[in-house]
Subunit: 521 residues, 2 copies
Amino acid sequence: MGVKEAVGHVGNLLRKPVGIVNGAKNAVVNVMNRQPLHTAGMTKALTSDNMNKHLKEMQYAVRGAVPIAAEVIQKELATGKHNRPYNEIVYCNIGNPHSVGQKPITWFRQVLSLVNCPSMFDNPEVLKAFPKDVVERSLKITGEIGGGTGAYSHSKGVLSFRNSIADFIKARDGHACDPENVYLIGGASAGIEKVLTAIISGPKDAVLIPIPQYPLYSALITILGGQQVGYYLEEEKGWSFNIVTTREVIKKARRDGLNPKAFCVINPGNPTGQLMSQQDLTDIVKLCREENLVLLSDEVYQENVYTETKKFVAMKKVVRDLGPKYDDFELASFHSTSKGLVGECGRRGGFMELVGFAPDVEAEIFKHCCMGLCPNLDGQVLTHLMVSPPLPGDESYELYTQETTGIYDALKRKANMLQEELNSIEGISCRPPEGAMYAFPQIQMPPKALAAAKAQGKAPDMMYCLALLEATGICCVPGSGFFQKEGTHHFRTTFLPEEDKISEALVRLKAFHLSFLAKYA
Amino acid sequence: MGVKEAVGHVGNLLRKPVGIVNGAKNAVVNVMNRQPLHTAGMTKALTSDNMNKHLKEMQYAVRGAVPIAAEVIQKELATGKHNRPYNEIVYCNIGNPHSVGQKPITWFRQVLSLVNCPSMFDNPEVLKAFPKDVVERSLKITGEIGGGTGAYSHSKGVLSFRNSIADFIKARDGHACDPENVYLIGGASAGIEKVLTAIISGPKDAVLIPIPQYPLYSALITILGGQQVGYYLEEEKGWSFNIVTTREVIKKARRDGLNPKAFCVINPGNPTGQLMSQQDLTDIVKLCREENLVLLSDEVYQENVYTETKKFVAMKKVVRDLGPKYDDFELASFHSTSKGLVGECGRRGGFMELVGFAPDVEAEIFKHCCMGLCPNLDGQVLTHLMVSPPLPGDESYELYTQETTGIYDALKRKANMLQEELNSIEGISCRPPEGAMYAFPQIQMPPKALAAAKAQGKAPDMMYCLALLEATGICCVPGSGFFQKEGTHHFRTTFLPEEDKISEALVRLKAFHLSFLAKYA
């Protein structure tokens, strides 16, 4: 099966399920399973027609058709027999730093290593290889966990870790944080799922999400059987928030018979990379109170800020700065070990803080956490380490600082380089990424390209991204996967690969884009 | 707040949400959050009345009212100031071996340690501390993962791990296994959730579950908005399967307007500990085909078999032994790193194998896995290690064998001891646990105890377990949390704590039980 067929096939599987369902009489080869199907002419118990329709409707572009096509090409490249003008896929579709060359931070891994293998504490020769603070911290953690990393913890996570997170939040925001409100989670996705599950109760329940948004939100809302209501970020003003149009969107949703219950903010923005001002965040909090909405604040990129002119402000601080009248304001905020300078996506770690929730509602969310038993302990350990890194005077401090600074500086350079180069290309415009790990450039699509996409039954930016992948090996995500203003076309690209790879990729991207313009001139 | 109030309070929160919801005008102290609520007389956006009703209805007894009460007592014990006749809680409520003294298996941890800290490969002094096969295996895994344990993997898990799992399944069952059908999962719970999510599509969709069952099943079915239909295991015949009554249950469900779509088996049984025969399993497969049901087989205790007269048979083998007519039979089976002799609950590792699913349906399940990005890498590494342990000739083989044999022998001794002692107590009868980690004894409740429970508004075995905890510090789970035949009363207890602790606990349990009988005589 060639790439084009695979893309078509997988695209169909993911969007419009193929027709081999009830009543198929012939043996059909299952391309995913490589097994004969329906050998006895049986019908399937579970079919595309009778399965969970919400799951079927759900879309998740970050691992959608373009990355799946990239996998097929990668297998072809691995054979060494190909005529392509590139030898590897440059994966810019997902914020997965370690997969594209970012080295793990030594200190985190040293502690994880000792905590997971307590027998090493008995071997002085081995311990000599670790800085003193690593050994001390590992011993402390081992004592605090009790049953070790192999035991289920409390369903909210290990108490001492929650204490350290509460200290981190307090230091960050200048406001109190109760560790009982802190929940360790298996990545931000898992926490967001828990909160949205509690909120969405029926098909008219609606959740406000930014447009463009990170597809986890639309995916969860769809699976949970709710409705998404988009509020537009204004690209021409640096993807900024507009309270006037947003208020109108909420009112319209109510007029349409929907029941808006929650409001999601992603700050710094994904895929848009903007950093929101305290004024905009304050407006959002006040709007949520006016409209009686629970606020979800996705802050996984809080360490990824590259602009010199603004600072990240946590939503918790915004709420508490508003004074006691907002003490009972319902806010869920999320952080993760996958992003920041840590970049440990595979660890599935993070935390959420729930404040102001009615105690009976919070008890239900906690019960849901209990059903999953606990987040994995390595992820918990890493979350604790992320919020309580080595201090000046610790043996590890210098190396830790050097490594984190190195990662930060490189991200900042790459963000700037990417933006400048993209803006130098005819027909592409890109807002400077103030934060996060992504650029979200707009493509001016020639009318003939729009017609071609229509003829192919593809979103124009999906057609663009598939052609870009095919021609250059660069794997991005079409803007349509994140939603965008009608009539605009974008793609999301990370700036995570190493600098020379981004440079080379940009040369190929520019050439591709010019040929794309020429083809559809 | 004393224990009794806490139990009452938390019990209420978990079952019948308290009434501090809409319109409360006074400041109410939130006992969970220790924060003033409704300070401004505001109503909450999210209340017990408008939240997800399925989540509210969901119950999860394993971490329900009894363990929550145990936590409160533990805090009291920790102060040292108490008049209780015990100094610690004996946690028998959950299969969490490392939390009650089972040591991690050295080999697993050594490999995890090296894989997580690649810089150790550069230090010959450190490497000397590890057996040669540990170093070799760790290097091999590091090469195979590519981006390391800090990167998202493929959403099905690392390919080489899936290959090793396929080899394990093939060797176990004597039938082929395609690694494309193997999915690494974050514990069996996560996999079961994915499959049930695909299956349940509406409020009439029903899933057959054993009674007694593991509460994850009832919890997931409730959250997903489906219906559970119980088929009874026959306690008097060693919790055995009865195809006649089960067939009748399915027919009755259809008559009642339900739409049975799937059938769940737990083998070895949880909480019941029985090991099912190949004949019973074959009957189930044939019944599922007759009734057009997807089969889910929970096999997380496949290594925990203590009877000499029977062997564990995997459902995949049962299906394949039936020949080509069953090649397209839809089976999902689950295994975990949390149980067996590994007992690494905190790692959240495991795998599922999906066979016979329609390709478009399997694509939707895969898409759902993609939404969660990937299971944590440490759990994936451990799953790989579980299915490919050291071999004779490897430096680690002897210690590994010694440790696993030690754990197995102790579990077997404890299972026997527990069963014998429980059966020696008047009014308690217990089927011998052939497998898993639990005994599920039946209590003959005196009529006055039943009346007292009714007066307290508690299930009789909930009243029993709370009193047992209060009097002895032994934390078990009431049978009502697992469902049981009307008019019978049970509790589930693990046999995981160390032998002397189980012995002592049994003495206290016996004394408590006699006083319970005397109280309600």
